[in-house]
Subunit: 146 residues, 4 copies
Amino acid sequence: MNNELKLYEHKAQYYETDQMGIIHHSNYIRWFEEARTDLLDSVGFGYDQMEESGIIIPVLAINCEYKSMVYYNQTVYIIPAVEFFNGIKLTLSYRVIDKVSGELRAYGESKHCFLNSNHRPVSLKKVNKPIYDLFENLVGKDMFTN
Amino acid sequence: MNNELKLYEHKAQYYETDQMGIIHHSNYIRWFEEARTDLLDSVGFGYDQMEESGIIIPVLAINCEYKSMVYYNQTVYIIPAVEFFNGIKLTLSYRVIDKVSGELRAYGESKHCFLNSNHRPVSLKKVNKPIYDLFENLVGKDMFTN
Amino acid sequence: MNNELKLYEHKAQYYETDQMGIIHHSNYIRWFEEARTDLLDSVGFGYDQMEESGIIIPVLAINCEYKSMVYYNQTVYIIPAVEFFNGIKLTLSYRVIDKVSGELRAYGESKHCFLNSNHRPVSLKKVNKPIYDLFENLVGKDMFTN
Amino acid sequence: MNNELKLYEHKAQYYETDQMGIIHHSNYIRWFEEARTDLLDSVGFGYDQMEESGIIIPVLAINCEYKSMVYYNQTVYIIPAVEFFNGIKLTLSYRVIDKVSGELRAYGESKHCFLNSNHRPVSLKKVNKPIYDLFENLVGKDMFTN
């Protein structure tokens, strides 16, 4: 495991279940966000820094493949990784892994761009090199097996 | 039924169920909000008017008694009523009633005050008589049996 | 518009907003489910029939592209369509369209299979021809422009 | 702090915010549930034991007073306490406290009864003395100040 980063955990809550007796599939999208904001926090681009920089990172697209079910009270790791980044576009992937068995529960991705405070797309390399470097530094890092 | 007001309906969604096979109790608090904003809309104090007036109506307290269960795909009426209003404080009640059987599913209340754009409590009677009159006009109206 | 089917509407609720002032992206996945269950209801495969038949239709994968933002109090149509069906697998697409402007807000898909009461994948053509025919009949139908 | 019990923490998530820029009030009801199930877990009446015993603890009523706002990314303690218990009825209270400042953010309660597997109310003292003793042992314990 990477020294700078700890695995993000989520314990499946009762209010996340549905009447099939499993965690409702929409919650995984929220878990992706939890892991994403946790990752950004841990590399120094948390909410305060984001506000200060005026850079917004909207969600352009998401997808999720459900591999096996998560049940109430089980804890999963949500492992984000930067799959693509060029300063203009960003793709993150997420593996949802059972904490006990290590089994893959789901795999998903989110696609993003970068907007300035006027909601115009920007190139981070041009407008904010330090933040560009933060993301550049994450590309290809595996936060689980290192 | 009151001429100006129609009953607010909500169809219980699958994502609102939990693994006991019923609608999770936290959703009722959201349904209260649905009915409350619908009521405000219908009397001419919808989101646009609220923004324009600069008046914010935060939730100070909520409560809910669960009388009988709501199941997936059932439709309920959520019937709001103004229980108390003096221009400074507002209490609304909500009856959740099964559309088919007319049975009471839940009864709850929300308490509110009025804030100006600086987030200071205000007396509507002093700062905005037209909005004061809107609420005053709702006191004691029964939106179900009229 | 198709004679048998009416457009599914959802009014964006206050509790669905986030602090960017827009509807949080995770809600679209729930809206897809609303439109999907509404579609199944309207063709005679609602929850009661599903329970009776013992056929479960889990979500295997979802995706969504966010084209433009939905704001509080706006009403959208969510238009489902069967993109693929062979009795073993099912893909539905969803267009989220602003009711007033007709603008596309989002486009997404969900992938499903069919399980029997023992949670084993089944071929609908073999185990339940009437339900097979229901879905077969929906393939290629456009619920918006007809 | 009580030796057997650790404080339950929740970090406010982005998807829990609303467009007023604060955590939406409905989430507190879910946080109460998080703290309640965590408490039950920690005293040996977690989900597995509950299933085994056949005892269900439905929510009969909830209330919440909002004292001050919780913002995105802030961590709160949710401190449950047994306010009343006689084997037939149970009342829990919850204090939501900012982890950094110690300020009270909200105070609420939930009321419960005990049902057997046939959904009939039971007296725990009569049908399950060990579980009765678990709750009895919690009455009046303050999980924050020892």
